[in-house]
Symmetry: C2
Subunit: 154 residues, 2 copies
Protein backbone atom coordinates (compact mmCIF):
# COMPACT_ATOMS: atom_id res chain seq x y z
CA UNK A 1 0.00 0.00 0.00
CA UNK A 2 1.32 3.44 -0.98
CA UNK A 3 1.83 6.24 1.46
CA UNK A 4 2.37 9.97 1.14
CA UNK A 5 -0.66 12.20 1.16
CA UNK A 6 -2.26 14.87 3.24
CA UNK A 7 -2.60 13.23 6.61
CA UNK A 8 -3.59 14.23 10.10
CA UNK A 9 -6.83 13.46 11.79
CA UNK A 10 -9.40 15.97 10.57
CA UNK A 11 -11.25 18.38 12.85
CA UNK A 12 -14.52 17.17 14.26
CA UNK A 13 -17.71 18.56 12.80
CA UNK A 14 -19.86 20.08 15.55
CA UNK A 15 -23.16 18.35 16.15
CA UNK A 16 -25.15 21.55 15.93
CA UNK A 17 -26.20 20.17 12.57
CA UNK A 18 -29.35 18.50 13.76
CA UNK A 19 -30.43 20.11 16.95
CA UNK A 20 -32.17 17.03 18.31
CA UNK A 21 -31.46 13.35 18.07
CA UNK A 22 -33.76 10.84 16.43
CA UNK A 23 -34.44 9.56 19.90
CA UNK A 24 -35.71 12.91 21.07
CA UNK A 25 -37.91 13.16 18.02
CA UNK A 26 -39.32 9.73 18.70
CA UNK A 27 -40.22 10.61 22.25
CA UNK A 28 -41.88 13.87 21.31
CA UNK A 29 -43.83 12.24 18.54
CA UNK A 30 -45.23 9.62 20.86
CA UNK A 31 -45.93 12.06 23.61
CA UNK A 32 -47.92 14.27 21.28
CA UNK A 33 -49.79 11.27 19.98
CA UNK A 34 -50.68 10.16 23.48
CA UNK A 35 -51.82 13.61 24.44
CA UNK A 36 -53.97 13.78 21.35
CA UNK A 37 -55.57 10.40 21.87
CA UNK A 38 -55.79 10.07 25.66
CA UNK A 39 -55.44 13.62 26.82
CA UNK A 40 -52.24 12.99 28.74
CA UNK A 41 -48.92 11.20 28.38
CA UNK A 42 -47.84 9.05 31.28
CA UNK A 43 -44.44 7.49 31.69
CA UNK A 44 -45.94 4.03 31.55
CA UNK A 45 -47.76 4.78 28.30
CA UNK A 46 -44.72 6.28 26.65
CA UNK A 47 -42.71 3.25 27.69
CA UNK A 48 -45.35 0.95 26.25
CA UNK A 49 -45.56 2.92 23.03
CA UNK A 50 -41.81 3.01 22.54
CA UNK A 51 -41.30 -0.50 23.85
CA UNK A 52 -38.69 0.53 26.38
CA UNK A 53 -38.55 0.46 30.15
CA UNK A 54 -40.27 3.00 32.33
CA UNK A 55 -36.96 3.90 33.88
CA UNK A 56 -35.57 4.91 30.51
CA UNK A 57 -38.59 7.07 29.90
CA UNK A 58 -38.24 8.86 33.20
CA UNK A 59 -34.63 9.57 32.37
CA UNK A 60 -35.38 10.96 28.96
CA UNK A 61 -38.35 12.96 30.11
CA UNK A 62 -36.13 14.68 32.63
CA UNK A 63 -33.69 15.46 29.88
CA UNK A 64 -36.44 16.80 27.63
CA UNK A 65 -37.57 19.00 30.47
CA UNK A 66 -34.03 20.28 30.91
CA UNK A 67 -33.90 21.05 27.20
CA UNK A 68 -37.10 23.01 27.40
CA UNK A 69 -39.11 20.71 25.19
CA UNK A 70 -41.63 19.90 27.87
CA UNK A 71 -42.53 20.81 31.41
CA UNK A 72 -42.34 17.88 33.70
CA UNK A 73 -43.35 17.55 37.31
CA UNK A 74 -42.01 14.62 39.27
CA UNK A 75 -44.64 11.91 39.82
CA UNK A 76 -47.29 14.15 38.36
CA UNK A 77 -47.00 14.45 34.60
CA UNK A 78 -45.82 16.56 31.70
CA UNK A 79 -46.98 18.90 28.99
CA UNK A 80 -45.18 19.93 25.84
CA UNK A 81 -43.75 23.41 25.66
CA UNK A 82 -44.26 25.44 22.52
CA UNK A 83 -40.85 24.35 21.32
CA UNK A 84 -41.70 20.74 22.05
CA UNK A 85 -45.01 21.01 20.27
CA UNK A 86 -43.40 22.53 17.23
CA UNK A 87 -40.91 19.72 17.04
CA UNK A 88 -43.52 17.09 17.67
CA UNK A 89 -45.82 18.47 15.01
CA UNK A 90 -42.96 18.68 12.59
CA UNK A 91 -41.93 15.07 12.99
CA UNK A 92 -45.55 13.98 12.95
CA UNK A 93 -46.04 15.74 9.68
CA UNK A 94 -43.01 14.05 8.18
CA UNK A 95 -44.28 10.73 9.46
CA UNK A 96 -47.67 11.23 7.92
CA UNK A 97 -46.26 12.42 4.63
CA UNK A 98 -43.95 9.46 4.25
CA UNK A 99 -46.68 7.07 5.25
CA UNK A 100 -49.01 8.50 2.63
CA UNK A 101 -46.32 8.52 0.01
CA UNK A 102 -45.24 4.93 0.53
CA UNK A 103 -48.87 3.89 0.76
CA UNK A 104 -49.45 5.35 -2.67
CA UNK A 105 -46.72 3.10 -3.99
CA UNK A 106 -48.61 0.08 -2.76
CA UNK A 107 -46.30 -1.06 -0.01
CA UNK A 108 -47.55 -3.16 2.86
CA UNK A 109 -48.46 -1.48 6.11
CA UNK A 110 -45.85 -3.13 8.24
CA UNK A 111 -43.13 -2.32 5.73
CA UNK A 112 -44.29 1.25 5.60
CA UNK A 113 -44.34 1.51 9.34
CA UNK A 114 -40.82 0.25 9.77
CA UNK A 115 -39.30 2.30 7.01
CA UNK A 116 -41.07 5.49 7.95
CA UNK A 117 -40.04 5.08 11.55
CA UNK A 118 -36.43 5.20 10.38
CA UNK A 119 -36.61 7.67 7.53
CA UNK A 120 -38.72 10.34 9.15
CA UNK A 121 -35.75 11.63 11.11
CA UNK A 122 -33.63 12.21 8.06
CA UNK A 123 -35.80 14.12 5.67
CA UNK A 124 -35.15 17.84 5.43
CA UNK A 125 -37.66 20.57 4.78
CA UNK A 126 -36.92 20.89 1.07
CA UNK A 127 -37.32 17.16 0.62
CA UNK A 128 -40.56 17.24 2.54
CA UNK A 129 -41.85 19.87 0.16
CA UNK A 130 -40.73 17.94 -2.88
CA UNK A 131 -42.37 14.74 -1.74
CA UNK A 132 -45.52 16.63 -0.87
CA UNK A 133 -45.64 18.02 -4.36
CA UNK A 134 -44.89 14.64 -5.85
CA UNK A 135 -47.61 12.98 -3.81
CA UNK A 136 -50.07 15.57 -5.02
CA UNK A 137 -49.21 14.86 -8.62
CA UNK A 138 -49.17 11.12 -8.19
CA UNK A 139 -52.67 11.10 -6.84
CA UNK A 140 -53.77 12.32 -10.23
CA UNK A 141 -52.00 9.56 -12.06
CA UNK A 142 -53.74 6.31 -11.13
CA UNK A 143 -52.48 4.60 -14.25
CA UNK A 144 -48.89 5.49 -13.48
CA UNK A 145 -49.31 4.35 -9.90
CA UNK A 146 -50.75 1.10 -11.07
CA UNK A 147 -47.69 0.50 -13.21
CA UNK A 148 -45.44 1.29 -10.28
CA UNK A 149 -47.28 -1.10 -7.98
CA UNK A 150 -47.21 -3.85 -10.51
CA UNK A 151 -43.55 -3.40 -11.31
CA UNK A 152 -42.60 -3.22 -7.65
CA UNK A 153 -44.54 -6.38 -6.82
CA UNK A 154 -41.32 -8.42 -6.83
Amino acid sequence: MPRKQTTKTPPRRPDSDRAHSSTVEDYLERILELINTKGYARVVDIAESLQISQASVTNMVQKLDAEGLLNYERYRGMILTTAGQTLALNITRRHQLLTDFLGLLGLEDNVIYRDVEGMEHHISAPTVRAIEALTEQLKRQPALLERVRTAAQQ
Copy 2:
Protein backbone atom coordinates in the same frame (compact mmCIF):
# COMPACT_ATOMS: atom_id res chain seq x y z
CA MET B 1 -54.02 11.62 35.93
CA PRO B 2 -55.89 8.33 35.84
CA ARG B 3 -54.47 4.99 36.75
CA LYS B 4 -55.57 1.41 36.28
CA GLN B 5 -54.53 -0.30 33.13
CA THR B 6 -52.35 -3.12 31.92
CA THR B 7 -49.02 -2.26 33.41
CA LYS B 8 -45.63 -3.79 33.70
CA THR B 9 -42.54 -2.88 31.74
CA PRO B 10 -42.73 -4.64 28.37
CA PRO B 11 -40.15 -7.19 27.24
CA ARG B 12 -37.29 -5.85 25.19
CA ARG B 13 -37.31 -6.55 21.50
CA PRO B 14 -34.10 -8.31 20.45
CA ASP B 15 -31.82 -6.33 18.15
CA SER B 16 -31.58 -9.09 15.59
CA ASP B 17 -34.02 -7.00 13.60
CA ARG B 18 -31.45 -5.19 11.56
CA ALA B 19 -28.33 -7.30 11.56
CA HIS B 20 -25.99 -4.35 11.20
CA SER B 21 -26.02 -0.82 12.51
CA SER B 22 -26.12 2.25 10.32
CA THR B 23 -22.58 2.86 11.41
CA VAL B 24 -21.44 -0.46 10.05
CA GLU B 25 -23.19 0.25 6.80
CA ASP B 26 -21.51 3.62 6.57
CA TYR B 27 -18.10 2.12 7.05
CA LEU B 28 -18.64 -0.60 4.49
CA GLU B 29 -20.00 1.85 1.98
CA ARG B 30 -16.95 4.08 2.27
CA ILE B 31 -14.54 1.20 2.24
CA LEU B 32 -16.02 -0.14 -0.95
CA GLU B 33 -15.93 3.29 -2.51
CA LEU B 34 -12.29 3.71 -1.61
CA ILE B 35 -11.39 0.32 -2.97
CA ASN B 36 -13.20 1.13 -6.18
CA THR B 37 -11.57 4.50 -6.66
CA LYS B 38 -8.08 4.02 -5.25
CA GLY B 39 -7.69 0.29 -5.21
CA TYR B 40 -7.35 0.03 -1.44
CA ALA B 41 -8.89 1.40 1.74
CA ARG B 42 -6.51 2.69 4.35
CA VAL B 43 -7.45 3.65 7.87
CA VAL B 44 -6.43 7.22 7.22
CA ASP B 45 -8.60 7.45 4.13
CA ILE B 46 -11.62 5.96 5.80
CA ALA B 47 -11.16 8.40 8.66
CA GLU B 48 -10.95 11.29 6.24
CA SER B 49 -13.98 10.11 4.30
CA LEU B 50 -16.10 9.62 7.39
CA GLN B 51 -14.67 12.65 9.16
CA ILE B 52 -13.75 10.75 12.26
CA SER B 53 -10.47 9.97 13.98
CA GLN B 54 -8.12 7.27 12.80
CA ALA B 55 -8.36 5.63 16.19
CA SER B 56 -12.09 5.20 15.78
CA VAL B 57 -11.58 3.66 12.39
CA THR B 58 -9.05 1.17 13.69
CA ASN B 59 -11.50 0.16 16.38
CA MET B 60 -14.35 -0.33 14.00
CA VAL B 61 -12.28 -2.11 11.41
CA GLN B 62 -11.26 -4.62 14.03
CA LYS B 63 -14.88 -5.13 14.89
CA LEU B 64 -15.84 -5.56 11.25
CA ASP B 65 -13.12 -8.13 10.95
CA ALA B 66 -14.47 -9.95 13.98
CA GLU B 67 -17.92 -9.92 12.41
CA GLY B 68 -16.57 -11.42 9.24
CA LEU B 69 -17.34 -8.44 7.05
CA LEU B 70 -13.75 -7.88 6.10
CA ASN B 71 -10.34 -9.39 6.56
CA TYR B 72 -8.01 -7.10 8.31
CA GLU B 73 -4.32 -7.43 8.97
CA ARG B 74 -2.79 -5.20 11.58
CA TYR B 75 -0.75 -2.36 10.08
CA ARG B 76 -1.17 -3.83 6.64
CA GLY B 77 -4.67 -3.36 5.31
CA MET B 78 -8.03 -4.91 4.69
CA ILE B 79 -10.24 -6.43 2.05
CA LEU B 80 -13.96 -7.00 2.12
CA THR B 81 -15.23 -10.52 2.56
CA THR B 82 -18.06 -11.73 0.38
CA ALA B 83 -20.50 -10.88 3.14
CA GLY B 84 -18.97 -7.43 3.45
CA GLN B 85 -19.11 -6.84 -0.26
CA THR B 86 -22.72 -7.88 -0.40
CA LEU B 87 -23.63 -5.47 2.31
CA ALA B 88 -21.56 -2.69 0.82
CA LEU B 89 -23.07 -3.15 -2.59
CA ASN B 90 -26.51 -3.21 -1.11
CA ILE B 91 -26.12 0.04 0.76
CA THR B 92 -24.42 1.61 -2.23
CA ARG B 93 -27.33 0.69 -4.39
CA ARG B 94 -29.78 2.22 -1.94
CA HIS B 95 -27.64 5.33 -1.81
CA GLN B 96 -27.57 5.65 -5.56
CA LEU B 97 -31.26 5.01 -5.92
CA LEU B 98 -32.22 7.63 -3.38
CA THR B 99 -29.81 10.11 -4.88
CA ASP B 100 -31.29 9.61 -8.33
CA PHE B 101 -34.80 9.81 -7.03
CA LEU B 102 -34.33 13.01 -5.09
CA GLY B 103 -32.38 14.44 -8.00
CA LEU B 104 -35.35 13.86 -10.22
CA LEU B 105 -37.44 15.93 -7.86
CA GLY B 106 -35.11 18.86 -8.40
CA LEU B 107 -33.54 19.05 -4.97
CA GLU B 108 -30.15 20.65 -4.45
CA ASP B 109 -27.10 18.43 -4.29
CA ASN B 110 -26.16 19.22 -0.73
CA VAL B 111 -29.70 18.62 0.47
CA ILE B 112 -29.78 15.34 -1.39
CA TYR B 113 -26.47 14.30 0.04
CA ARG B 114 -27.47 14.94 3.64
CA ASP B 115 -30.89 13.34 3.40
CA VAL B 116 -29.69 10.29 1.53
CA GLU B 117 -26.90 9.78 4.02
CA GLY B 118 -29.53 9.43 6.69
CA MET B 119 -32.31 7.67 4.85
CA GLU B 120 -30.30 5.02 3.06
CA HIS B 121 -30.06 2.96 6.23
CA HIS B 122 -33.78 2.76 6.72
CA ILE B 123 -35.19 1.72 3.39
CA SER B 124 -36.20 -1.91 3.10
CA ALA B 125 -36.03 -4.06 0.01
CA PRO B 126 -39.69 -3.68 -0.92
CA THR B 127 -39.41 0.08 -0.65
CA VAL B 128 -36.28 0.02 -2.76
CA ARG B 129 -38.17 -1.82 -5.44
CA ALA B 130 -41.10 0.54 -5.28
CA ILE B 131 -38.93 3.61 -5.58
CA GLU B 132 -37.02 2.04 -8.42
CA ALA B 133 -40.25 1.44 -10.25
CA LEU B 134 -41.46 4.93 -9.48
CA THR B 135 -38.21 6.46 -10.69
CA GLU B 136 -38.54 4.55 -13.92
CA GLN B 137 -42.02 5.88 -14.48
CA LEU B 138 -41.17 9.42 -13.48
CA LYS B 139 -38.41 9.61 -16.03
CA ARG B 140 -41.07 9.31 -18.65
CA GLN B 141 -43.13 12.13 -17.23
CA PRO B 142 -41.08 15.30 -17.71
CA ALA B 143 -44.16 17.46 -17.50
CA LEU B 144 -45.20 15.95 -14.19
CA LEU B 145 -41.69 16.34 -12.86
CA GLU B 146 -41.65 19.93 -13.93
CA ARG B 147 -44.81 20.55 -11.98
CA VAL B 148 -43.34 18.87 -8.93
CA ARG B 149 -40.16 20.92 -9.11
CA THR B 150 -42.07 24.12 -9.50
CA ALA B 151 -44.47 23.35 -6.69
CA ALA B 152 -41.68 22.25 -4.37
CA GLN B 153 -39.72 25.41 -5.04
CA GLN B 154 -41.30 26.90 -1.89
